[in-house]
Amino acid sequence: MATSVTAVSALAVFSAPRSLPKPPAPLPSRQNVVSFVGRPVRAHRRLVAVAASSPATPPDLANKVSESIKQAKETCADDPVSAECVAAWDEVEELSAAASHARDRQKGVDPLEEYCKDNPETDECRTYED
């Protein structure tokens, strides 16, 4: 009994795996914690059960933003006060706003729910109707 309690507490202490993939990846954290039981304790680990970093911009939108910034810098290098330069920076602003809204939409997303949508048969996602 004592050993199982310590095993459980050891599980609780060991935090997220070393290389946590960015969301919305499936939940390797839960599986990997089990494999950590035998490993040495790492100091200064924050207790994280699920990937809790802030959501990233969807990659296509992020690319668009960086492309538009590059473009704006090029356009403005030729003539800083032209209408094209102003329009280019306006496009950067529009895309940055869209990226920020996309990130906000991602915030409410629960990684476990996302994973279970695609993999309902896994252990974490099993539901019981007793």
Binding site: I69, K70, C76, A88, D90, A97
Partner: protein, 382 residues
């Protein structure tokens, strides 16, 4: 339903012919349908909000829809990139949908989204008027991801229509349709601090690019968007704090927020502190209430704003306890709350929203309550 809308659009925009048409149709049925009765005798209340925060679920919209009841979501089954939010009582439409030039078009002409040449004000006026009169419209959709105009979506007249965008009060005809108009005026330093917070994590952005973007848009902003301030019934002005001396707080965390309310607006009674029509300077922190640095300072007064008489309530500083919030709410009057502590309750409900501990959240919540009050007064009059 399609035949019904076709009939009303064929009819003139005057009330009685459409009204009689509806009665005839309902008489031919065995029972009156609730939808037909609603369209014939209720007019939508239209609120205009001018803000530079793009077309997403901004904090102000979230607070507003929360006060009005129910969460706002994009229309179900529609375009996933739709800018419209629909809740039980309110629909929020984003005026970017009325772009006459898409992103490629604007680039070719060297025109920003702030420029009125990129907007179709005639269509905006026609559709807002149609919704106000109770007719459904097919509103175009501007897709911010692709930068193109998508096929239109159907908007049915809600009880409250909120039009949000940069040009809500630009066109005179649209202005006349608004029952209440609100302008969010963010000062340059605060705007820069907020944009840095928003964009620094974005790959490709740097402080220089953020600054360059703001600077480039400034001329068009000052020429086309700023002048709308004079038409607004309520202005929420966000400035850097005066409580921290010296260079102070350049992260824009502590803010000084003013709520400027026009006098004499129908169904809109300005908020006041202690004594209406006087000038008050109030620091609630003291023996009864203890606040942490930098504290809270309130001011109330009246004056002129672009030639109109206004009342101004101002808050500088931050709340960090529930006590402070309730204490302040007790001393403000004309809040249009339905019960004591409603403002505090609304602020706490959304404690994770930005601005929940300062004047932005407080005044946005109060404006939301004022809108609800205005709507109820208009409905009661019918």
């Amino acid at each position: 339903m399609a035949a019904f809308t076709a009939h009303t659009s064929a009819a003139t925009s005057l009330y009685s012919p459409a009204g009689t048409a509806i009665l005839l149709r309902s008489r031919s049925r065995a029972y009156p349908t609730t939808t037909t009765i609603r369209v014939s005798c209720s007019k939508t209340v239209v609120i205009g909000v001018a803000a530079d925060s793009g077309c997403g679920k901004s904090t102000f919209m979230r607070r507003l829809t929360s006060v009005l009841g129910g969460g706002a979501e994009p229309p179900r089954g529609g375009n996933p990139n739709s800018n419209t939010l629909v809740s039980d009582t309110a629909t929020v439409i984003c005026l970017d949908d009325y772009h006459s030039l898409d992103r490629a078009g604007r680039k070719a002409k060297g025109v920003t989204a702030l420029d009125p040449r990129a907007h179709d004000f005639d269509l905006m006026y026609e559709q807002v008027r149609a919704i106000k009169e109770g007719r459904a419209v097919e509103k175009p959709v501007y897709n911010h991801v692709t930068g193109r105009l998508d096929p239109p979506e159907l908007i049915t007249p809600p009880e409250i229509l909120v039009i949000k965008g940069l040009h809500s009060m630009y066109d005179e005809r649209v202005r006349d349709l608004l029952d209440l108009s609100i302008y969010l005026d963010i000062s340059n330093e605060v705007k820069f601090a907020w944009k840095v917070q928003r964009d620094m994590a974005e790959r490709g952005h740097s402080l220089e690019s953020i600054r360059a973007s703001i600077e480039a848009r400034k001329p068009d902003f000052d020429a086309y968007i700023e002048p709308q301030k004079q038409y607004a019934d309520a202005v929420i002005e966000v400035l850097p704090t005066q409580l921290i001396p010296g260079p102070g707080d350049d992260e824009g965390k502590v803010l000084r927020v003013k709520l400027i309310m026009k006098e004499g607006v129908e169904h809109f009674a300005p908020v006041y502190l202690f004594d209406e029509g006087s000038t008050v300077n109030w620091i609630p922190c003291g023996r009864k209430l203890s606040c942490s640095y930098p504290g809270i300072r309130f001011a109330y007064g009246f004056g002129a704003y672009f030639g109109h008489e206004v009342s101004v309530v101002e808050m500088d500083g931050q709340f960090d306890k529930l006590d402070e919030l309730i204490y302040v709410e007790t001393h403000l009057s004309n809040l249009s709350t339905k019960f004591y502590g409603e403002v505090a309750q609304q602020m706490l409900k959304h404690a994770d929203f930005p601005g929940s501990n300062n004047g932005t959240g407080l005044f946005q919540t109060i404006v939301g309550l004022k809108i609800r009050d205005l709507y109820e007064q208009i409905v009661a009059r019918r």
